[in-house]
């Protein structure tokens, strides 16, 4: 059954090519091809997930060559989870693009290419192959960000391209150093060879530093996040929903894959300074992201900075390198993708219905768009970490992992992030519901506007339901992830 893996990567790319060709003949066909492509992708992802969670890791050797020489595709619990999120969010957000401005075939070709690239990053077992898929994802993302025909989005797209390419090139240089140190590029092989080459050797340390910095740029952690706010704010709403949910998530998955499959946990025990640096940089990103988010006036820029802070949390969890923190990081990675996507979708619906884009324009919106503001508030509180939602469960495991590791400062920062996230969401919720002016006095008043459900709003509501269900189902997911964690931690 290991044929599903290459299919999950090739099919979206083939669909993208088909979309271009059919697009020449019939202009409208772009959306339908994208629908078919992402629907099939969801089926494949679920197939892979059931297979992986059924009986452990599955691998596929491209072109029949055994691993050290050939490229190997691998799917374990972590990658199956991220792949399912990519497929489902890719499929759902497509409904979002239907409603909004009519897109040309080039947009849907780029959309499918992005889904294909993300699937590639998630499934690849070869380090250089991960660079190629990261670049494919990046390329599609740059084009999609610039697809809104305003000057601002072109400038943001160019800035994203330049900084993203530097990140990918650093990643490539890191891969080069690892290749020079060991002579192989396959991840499983590398973990053994790197240990043989000695973790403290200068070459291996340099490769680790370069790879992690490159991916940090891709995830937009604090010092190197400058491309993200402008890119998310100026992209069309459907694109910023898709990209905020998936692109950084895939890059964060890539860091987890490298920390646990390539450099494995022994690297951190051999080089504790590397672990401390990564953990403290991530914690700094949590604090700085939240502070910057509070300063923003434009909603989408605020949500972009909130992503910087939340991914700081995820990377800190992965860097703590114990099982509970890893589980927390994975749950928050998946949960954050759904929450942030839902938030951007809700912000988009509010913008369309009321034209409000900045925090001040959000005054008194509860009457005009009751359901959209309702979903924005609930998703905001979920991200803050108010229980039954998935935000709380992720934070609980990460905090428990940090405490078990004895890293008290990080545990404090993680728990403090609740208040920091609250700082910028309470501000918006207060304006939405308790507005600026005092409404008129009416006797025994019956209030509340007439709610209407558009397809875009349905997506935001679906995100809310998903967040609650994932919150309650987290322990089931933890049991599913058990075998993968045993394998990754080499128990």
């Amino acid at each position: 059954m290991s044929e599903l893996l290459p299919l999950a990567i090739v099919l979206p790319i083939v669909a993208s090519a088909a979309a271009v060709i059919v697009g020449r003949v019939r202009e409208e066909s772009g959306w339908y091809l994208a629908l078919i492509g992402t629907a099939v992708q969801v089926v494949l992802a679920i197939g892979i997930a059931t297979q992986v969670f059924g009986d452990g890791r599955i691998t596929h050797h491209l072109a029949g060559f055994p691993p050290p020489q050939g490229i190997q595709l691998v799917a374990d619990g972590l990658s199956a989870a991220v792949l399912s999120v990519v497929a489902v969010v890719g499929f759902v957000v497509l409904g979002y693009t239907r409603g909004s401005e009519t897109h040309r075939t080039a947009f849907y070709a780029g959309y499918l290419l992005l889904v294909g690239g993300l699937a590639g990053v998630t499934l690849t077992g070869d380090l250089f192959n991960m660079y190629v898929f990261l670049e494919i994802t990046g390329l599609a993302a740059y084009a999609l960000v610039a697809s809104a025909n305003t000057g601002r989005s072109a400038l943001a797209g160019l800035r994203y391209l330049i900084i993203g390419t530097i990140g990918a090139s650093l990643f490539l240089l890191g891969v080069g150093y690892a290749f020079v140190a060991t002579g192989t590029l396959n991840m499983m092989d590398l973990s053994a060879e790197l240990a043989a080459a000695g973790y403290r050797s200068r070459l291996v340390l340099a490769s680790f530093a370069l790879i992690v910095t490159g991916l940090a740029i891709k995830i937009a952690l604090f010092p190197v996040h400058t491309w993200q706010p402008e890119a998310y704010a100026s992209a069309p709403d459907s694109v910023s929903t898709l990209i905020s949910a998936l692109v950084s998530t895939a890059a964060a998955y890539a860091i987890a894959r490298i920390l646990y499959s390539v450099y494995t946990v022994e690297f951190f025990t051999a080089v504790p300074t590397a672990q401390d640096l990564l953990v403290y940089a991530a914690a700094l990103s949590v604090l700085a992201g939240s502070v910057l988010a509070v300063l923003q006036s434009e909603i989408k820029r605020m949500l972009a900075y909130s992503s910087v802070s939340q991914f700081g949390l995820v990377v800190a969890a992965f860097a703590l390198a114990n099982q509970t923190a890893f589980l927390g990081g994975t749950i928050h990675l998946v949960g954050h993708a759904v929450m942030k996507g839902g938030l951007f979708a809700a912000a988009g619906v509010i913008a369309i219905r009321t034209g409000a884009r900045t925090v001040d324009e959000y005054a008194d919106l509860a009457a005009e768009a009751p359901i959209a503001t309702g979903t924005f508030a609930v998703l905001g509180l979920a991200l803050v970490g108010v229980p039954p939602a998935v935000g709380f469960v992720g934070k609980w495991y990460i905090a428990l992992g940090a405490v078990a590791e004895g890293v008290w400062i990080i545990a404090a920062v993680i728990l403090l992030s609740t208040l920091l996230t609250l700082a910028y969401f309470a501000r918006v919720i207060e304006r939405m519901y308790f507005g600026m002016d005092v409404p008129g006095e009416t006797a025994a008043v019956a209030d509340g506007g007439r709610p209407t459900i558009s397809p875009k709003l349905a997506i935001a509501v679906a995100a809310v339901v998903a967040v609650i269900v994932m919150g309650l189902g987290a322990t089931w997911f933890a049991s599913l992830l058990e075998p993968t964690m045993e394998f990754l931690f080499g128990l």
Binding site: F128, Y131, V132, E135, L139, Y142, A143, A146, T150, G151, R152, A154, L155, G157, L158, L161, I162, T165, I166, S169, L172, L173, G176, F179, V180, L185
Partner: protein, 120 residues
């Protein structure tokens, strides 16, 4: 120190290219020059990769009836082939965006664009 330079000169060249590329990206205001800087930065990395494949006295990696002896490792070459195509497509997309920016703001210099946007 001298023998270090004599034996490791290709690494030094690669690092120099990286430095020049980064400097151009950061210091020069013109957008097209930035993209050129980006290309130089990537060329530095390609140079680093290709030179790692060198085996002194190695024969070109072609299997033929009378090929023998140590071969130059072909793997870096293959990798860099893909990386070059990725680099080219990135440059192409960047230039297309620059065309749009020029059409929108009428200038290629980053500081002038910032002024134009500031008083928009």
């Amino acid at each position: 120190m001298i023998d270090l330079i004599l034996t490791r000169y290709h690494y030094i060249a690669a690092i120099l290219l990286l430095a020049i590329g980064l400097y151009m990206l950061i210091a020069i205001k013109n957008l097209v020059a930035k993209v050129i800087g980006l290309n130089i930065f990537q060329t530095g990395i390609f140079l680093f990769f290709i030179t790692t494949g060198m085996v002194t006295g190695g024969a070109p990696p072609l299997l033929g009836p009378h090929a023998e002896g140590p071969f130059v490792s072909p793997l870096p070459h293959v990798l860099i082939l893909t990386a070059i195509v990725v680099g080219v497509s990135l440059t192409a997309v960047a230039l297309t965006l620059i065309v749009r920016i020029y059409a929108e703001y009428g200038s290629l210099r980053e500081d002038i664009i910032r002024e134009v946007r500031a008083n928009e």
